[in-house]
Symmetry: C2
Amino acid sequence: MKVCKFGGSSVADEHQIRKILNIINNDSERKYIVVSAPGKRFKDDVKVTDMFITLIEAILNASNYDEIIEQILNRYKQIEDGLEVNHSLISHFNDVIHVYIKQYKNNPDRLTDALKSCGEDFNAQLIANYNNEQGIKTTYLSPGDIELYVSDEPGNAIVLNESYERINKKLNHIEGKVIIPGFFGINKSGDVNTFSRGGSDITGAIIASSMNCSVYENFTDVSGIFSANPNVVNNPASILQLTYEEMRELSYAGFNVFHDEALLPVYRSNIPVNIKNTNEPDHPGTLITTTRTSTGVVGVSCDKGFVSINMKKYLMNREIGFTRRLLSILEDLNISYEHMPSGIDDISVILRAHQLHNKEEILKNRIIQELHVDALSIEKNIAVLMIVGLGMKTLVGTANKATEAFKNENINLKMINQGSSEISMMFGIEENDADKATRAVYKAYFNTVNEK
Amino acid sequence: MKVCKFGGSSVADEHQIRKILNIINNDSERKYIVVSAPGKRFKDDVKVTDMFITLIEAILNASNYDEIIEQILNRYKQIEDGLEVNHSLISHFNDVIHVYIKQYKNNPDRLTDALKSCGEDFNAQLIANYNNEQGIKTTYLSPGDIELYVSDEPGNAIVLNESYERINKKLNHIEGKVIIPGFFGINKSGDVNTFSRGGSDITGAIIASSMNCSVYENFTDVSGIFSANPNVVNNPASILQLTYEEMRELSYAGFNVFHDEALLPVYRSNIPVNIKNTNEPDHPGTLITTTRTSTGVVGVSCDKGFVSINMKKYLMNREIGFTRRLLSILEDLNISYEHMPSGIDDISVILRAHQLHNKEEILKNRIIQELHVDALSIEKNIAVLMIVGLGMKTLVGTANKATEAFKNENINLKMINQGSSEISMMFGIEENDADKATRAVYKAYFNTVNEK
């Protein structure tokens, strides 16, 4: 049995919804379906969730918002019309919106989460309704119906551990297809609490883990994960299979496939995730598993916007507690760092540039005054390039392939970090070299590349 | 004006002492001379300091020690005879030894430090006495005479900050040559306290800094520092000039030129150190300075006996305080680590193998129980190879030269750490590959190598 999640572009209009229902109805294993709110139909289109955010702002600013509600309902109406449904839900949706506004008008947090959840919720109802009308037994179930309990943190809810068993009990006996809206759960009082943005992936992973399904199919508008950024490398290969860890390493430096924490429930339950394309459902896509038997480089990613704080102090490595005191200063200033490579008498802290915002001077002063370093410098505009793949650590010459590619392109390496991870190598380079470096390394490992 | 320090082999017998006095007397700039105890004259010879240690053990075990004293005095007698001194100091030395034994027989710490200091102290007196007899005005001054005050930590004394000015005042007006025994100072009550072993280098550095000399000449039995271990690489080049930082990096991985902390006083005072050979005094040796104008690789060092503790945890880099808690566990167990390279969801702690002695199980248990890691492994028998030289960080292709050398020798790289230090690259390899790797890297950077 499979759990399927469909992203915003896969449920953006009647054509896309027909596609996903074909996908679902043609495979009896595809039983539990998590859907997003309607996304963009074309480049400059507005996502329904963003329309709800505009509505929320208007309400909180006491502006007139009737027209915004009309626009939102019109999106769903267009879908219903396109699908030629017999029984329209639009007036029910209108009622729900107004009930929420009345109920929560003095409680901005609750109002925001309740209205934001409507995008997914209405879409799930609409899709279930239409599929039933087509003669396929389909049940819409809200997070409340299935007892998907979350912490009471509007906009940033976390699933409660008890939910997995509760959901299993609730869903176990349901016949036919089940459509569940993504992106939110309810707290123990029944109030809607949304996950952080992109949280439909989280809902899918929770359902997949609860039902211990054979695979969690995650449908988007690309045929799996590319081995490099297609905006930089022309026609990069798709990755057929990779592990959770490999995916984490790739996402770190710029691959925005998943909300990082979204997959934790399926990772823990050892359930594979299949990233597939709604518009090309027969493409195998990318399978994410806990292990894979083959080894080799799967992808090259590169992200900009890093900063390195470099410290030198004669006899530093003899000084007990130096690193701990440095960490305490960072923690005091609420600065989170990425890496901390150290030499004999020197240490660097690599962090995302935004972490230093408004804090650079105070950090420098505290390091100088409290750690008495001999030298302190801050290097900006650093890009981090990652080469990811199982078995890298035990392969002779893996590093050489990369350093040769850099040398041939005359790229200066600011940093090499290899060995902490068995499945990746990390290189620090100048931001200006990022695209050139990505193409060079991709070519070195995948043998072919065209400039973009 | 120069401060000269002569190591044990440079003052081991009358021939060597004639050599060092030639060196001193032929250069009027060489004024303040720090001497060690007589060292080995041939491979299986016993150093005088080790004879004193045997004496101390005999006294503390209440064994008969008369013969040991006789052997010690005989070493000095042989030197006096060889030098044909007019006025012998042997009976004075005999008196001193017996005074110390009587005074400190119930205080093992004081007894140990007092007797250990005699090796240097007697040699300084003997050399000053002989040089005076040769018609060259020479003054022996003890650490007490020059107010070289140290902390009251027998065997591990640290110089007090006030000493520098006191020493300057005491030495400033002395005419002729001054001979000072190395290795010890006195506490404020006048008790002898020795530095940690090899501490004559420390005495020399303290005098050099106190007198703000133009150069601190450190005479040994090799003509400077080699660019690689001569037991591994045949005829490695001598290093003409390197910086303090470069020397620190080289010493870290196996170059035992100096006691690490010995040079701190001259480093702080910006005084160059010249490592020279008593047996080849015209050789320029190696000059250690705070900066150097040229850039490039100066040396390759490699040390064995490292261990890597590797931890993996899904979403580790999202977990605030993980590293700090890991550091606390290490601190609790009194384990000091060398490096802590980190990936996205993994971190390694590199440490010297002896740090894990008797602590491996408890460390593993605490990491598993307190940090809830997904995987923990300990990798042993790791060697760390360092390539050291100013300007490495800004040079394109520096890393590639090394990785290519490793690849060609079929050496697997467990770890690369480049970028934290501007002047070195660090590689983790198997201990078995250490010599092969050193030769390969030496050849890559110095162009020529013969197997040894």
